[in-house]
């Protein structure tokens, strides 16, 4: 079996129009923030942001499978000393479109942007909004389990004969909690707070999120050979993560330079090569 990489050059709505409904398992994207990245994306004014995004989210709702998930990485910027409210307004409007606002994960940026302001600290977190089409969405929680806290190492590791005997006697006497559930277990389910460093490499593209971010959500919400999409592909981080994890990938990008860079990378880079390079070539549209 092979995985495909499908790239579209054009704005998000153009690319989305070409995608069939109910076909995408996971959307992970970080759209251009309001008034940010002016030099690259042109920048959407904060008060126009919601009306700009709603037609796109409408299309995302169409192409997503009923069991699929949409992860939106976004953070409101500061305007005249206040946090803008367009993210909150967007959530309220998307619910009217039919989206379920299932959860809000927090991306804690361990090495956030440096700086000092008289009335504000450094911003070290961003929102990761989870939207779904139905309550019956797919989730593979075991795929993202994390090592337990220190206490399990310091305590359970030292479980010796005494504890085992005591446990046995408890079981025999019919009360006490079952310690055997914990023995040999060193993994726990994560929480809705993700601790990741930001991409600190001095790349020329407007760096979005580190590859661990889409990787985490791809593991959590898809299985192999599912399809992952990023309608604001940018430098292609989501698509690389999907490809490495053997998921089909769909990317849309409006800026030719970015589009060509990603296209070139999938041709030449030694990522997951399930097919020959020429087959990659045909898989890449445009």
């Amino acid at each position: 079996m092979q995985v495909d990489v499908e790239l579209y050059l054009g704005d998000a709505r153009y690319g989305l129009n070409k995608i069939a409904g109910d076909t995408i398992d996971l959307i992970v994207t970080s759209p251009p923030y309001a008034d940010q990245r002016k030099n690259t994306y042109g920048g959407i004014a904060p008060d126009k942001y919601v009306e700009w995004f709603l037609p796109i989210s409408q299309e995302l709702l169409r192409v997503l499978k009923p069991t699929g998930t949409f992860i939106l990485n976004i953070k409101e910027r500061v305007v005249k000393g206040e946090r803008s409210t367009y993210v909150m307004e967007l959530i309220l409007e998307m619910r009217k479109q039919g989206w379920l606002w299932t959860e809000e994960f927090i991306w804690h940026k361990k090495n956030c942007y440096p700086g000092k302001w008289p009335n504000r600290f450094r911003d070290a977190w961003e929102r990761l909004l989870q939207f779904n089409k139905t309550k019956q969405f797919t989730m593979y929680q075991e795929a993202v389990m994390v090592p337990m806290g220190d206490w399990s190492k310091t305590r359970l590791k030292t479980l010796s004969d005494t504890d085992k005997i005591r446990d046995t006697s408890k079981v025999g006497s019919g009360f006490g909690k079952n310690i055997s559930n914990w023995i040999g277990r060193d993994m726990a389910y994560p929480t809705n707070v993700l601790h990741l460093a930001t991409e600190c490499g001095n790349k020329n593209h407007s760096a979005a999120f580190p590859e661990e971010l889409p990787t985490w959500f791809i593991k959590l919400f898809t299985k192999e050979y599912d399809t992952v999409m990023d309608p604001f592909m940018g430098s292609g981080t989501t698509l690389y993560a999907a490809n490495k994890l053997k998921r089909n990938a769909v990317g849309i990008e409006i800026i030719p330079d970015y589009y060509n860079a990603v296209k070139e990378a999938f041709k030449t880079t030694d990522l997951y090569l399930f097919e020959k390079e020429s087959e990659y070539d045909t898989a890449i549209n445009q």
Copy 2:
């Protein structure tokens, strides 16, 4: 100089009516969440939450100094598989009242409530919304600087070391020295993500948030002999923190048991005793 502790028994609006306008430097509070704590507080339905809180926030706006700050600790609960939207609606409505939504801090709860569900991870964060009356609010950033080695973790426990350093320097050289002169490059400013464990276990009073939380904001937004208020006092965590830091404290509580417990604690406990116990007694209003 002494610090006062002013307690009101009654609901928040009743107590607030008795407080003069433009007199409070900082409000730190954690109101009852929607449909939460039904056994103690009435429990406000999610769809009634905004209209319940708006008259209170209107009064908070009145009593706060123009340079003051309002920190609101809140988190929306899950209803039928979705996060409720009343917190976002509350922010939008409070802005219409005249509040500035300056910032949203994240409280990362390291020891969040356990549990496992098929479609959701454990909730490990809460919102700490910062509202202001004007852009010219007061902020003492140096008071909450953290050691450089821990800056990324923003461990508040290390703040106690900071205080020791500062106190030592004060004793040795007099008051009012610039802290940065003494600490220099070893210290960094924190971010807008706070890492704190909730208080559980065998303490006398179980509080909604750990004392480090109000302590941090009190240091950040007030100086000694300023006035700190909590209109939903509960077990009095905010007031204890304020008192220990030599700030005047105002608390309002609707449940007599909580009110009396706090009142008793301030009478008998060996907190910051700037005056004799009898003077504390007179400072506590009925």
